[in-house]
Symmetry: C2
């Protein structure tokens, strides 16, 4: 079985940056990083002792693995321009994109999707992160699996359909929860209350999820059908968020409250 | 300064149950628990060696502290019926109710609001839970503060206006985040994927909040303005949630995505 040692990264965003450091710190060699934005790429490439390029034709054929990690709508452009050997092993890191984008141009391909929220300014410990693997052959699947097991104990063989579902659920579990937290913080700040008072509550809410299905943990005015509090809260929000862009937050409160009632109807 | 030793609990819901065990386990004497629902009250009263009553006139005058912990819309009825000495020390545990509900009938009163999400089946460690204290006099405030410090290291003097704001923010931070997690879990379950695959992502999302304001942690299709993914996700949700009550979940996705875009406009 082919062993991965040399890697080329195509992309320099949140995921690519985290992966670059991850691979470097685990003894892998990053041969090149490509990105249209050469300046941000150079910052990373210096730290992990590799070369940065913004010319896609400069990408060499010498890597054991090519990882494309760009925004979803840049994939087709990148794949059109990329001229590496058709036997190269190439994967992408997207939750939403089907494995079959590689079918026409490559013989060895797959997906390496770490289910996590990444920001450039924070490097993540990968040990428990679920890595979702897919590949065009059983042998390539084994190569990817073995590669992923260098970083995580949580490897999952997930097909493109399942991955799309997981990604959709992750938007709720991470992006939407974070938005609710963001609004909660701003409500306190606009009233000169330190929002950190919420942290024990937030931590307990999440701890309950690790112990029990969230459907069993729902509390608050909506599930109690406490419409008096709901309408008081909407009045308060109308006073707190007066700027043009934020006038929908009271409606959001109403919409989510109704959704809680609906989801918990027997 | 008056020392609190004997406590009477009025109510037997999620908060009252958690408080009953908390006080008992910390060496306080619960003289009585009152609730209209005598059966659920008897379950608690046996465990913490006290007497249960469903007759509000049976509440004795011998307690150092009376804690009313009922649903918000039951307070006025309880206060009308309750016939204890006007010099009794009486508090409520609500996030939303003003301290002034006691003004007409009592001379010593306040609020003891633990900022946490309580369910009966899970007892909570109070050590870090913010307890929000309010009282009608500085002396009563000190009594409550000292009492609360038996259970928590996180005591906050918070007036009724501030408490209402905190409670509103807590609906976003706990009830609404839990709802997002609930939907995320159901999306996976309806597609035969174990939703526990989300746990590391959820934990990291929350961990970021402890380190950084949520406004700096927002990721996902909405903040990237990735409308192609957003409309794909809405199509998927329309196929997943077909039952009458859940047909608004795709709209919820759209509404929250728009709210993320709005909140992050410069």
């Amino acid at each position: 079985m082919q062993k991965i040692q040399n890697i080329t990264l195509i992309g320099a965003g949140n995921v690519a940056t985290n992966l670059a450091y991850l691979f470097y710190n685990n003894g892998f060699k990053i041969l090149q990083i490509y990105s249209k934005h050469i300046e941000s790429t150079k910052k990373i490439s210096k730290l992990i002792k590799t070369s940065a390029t913004d010319k896609i034709n400069n990408i060499s054929n010498k890597s054991d693995l090519y990882i494309i990690s760009v925004s979803d709508n840049s994939y087709s452009e990148i794949l059109n321009k990329l001229k590496i050997n058709k036997n190269s092993f190439i994967v992408h890191t997207s939750g939403s994109i089907n494995i079959n984008i590689f079918t026409k141009k490559y013989n060895n391909y797959g997906v390496f999707y770490p289910l996590q929220t990444f920001t450039k300014n924070k490097l993540i410990d990968f040990k428990n992160i679920p890595i979702c693997i897919e590949a065009n052959t059983t042998e390539n699947q084994e190569i990817l699996k073995k590669f992923a097991s260098n970083f995580s104990d949580n490897i999952n063989i997930i097909n493109s359909e399942q991955r799309k579902t997981i990604h959709l659920s992750a938007v709720f579990a991470s992006n939407f929860t974070n938005h609710m937290l963001d609004i909660a913080y701003r409500i306190n700040e606009k009233n000169n209350i330190n929002p950190n008072i919420l942290l024990p509550l937030i931590n307990e809410t999440i701890k309950k999820t690790t112990e029990n299905h969230p459907k069993n943990n729902q509390t608050g005015p909506a599930i109690r059908n406490d419409n008096k509090i709901i309408s008081e809260h909407i009045d308060m929000l109308n006073k707190i968020f007066t700027s043009k862009y934020l006038e929908n937050i009271p409606k959001l409160y109403n919409f989510v409250s109704q959704s809680i009632k609906d989801l918990n109807k027997k």
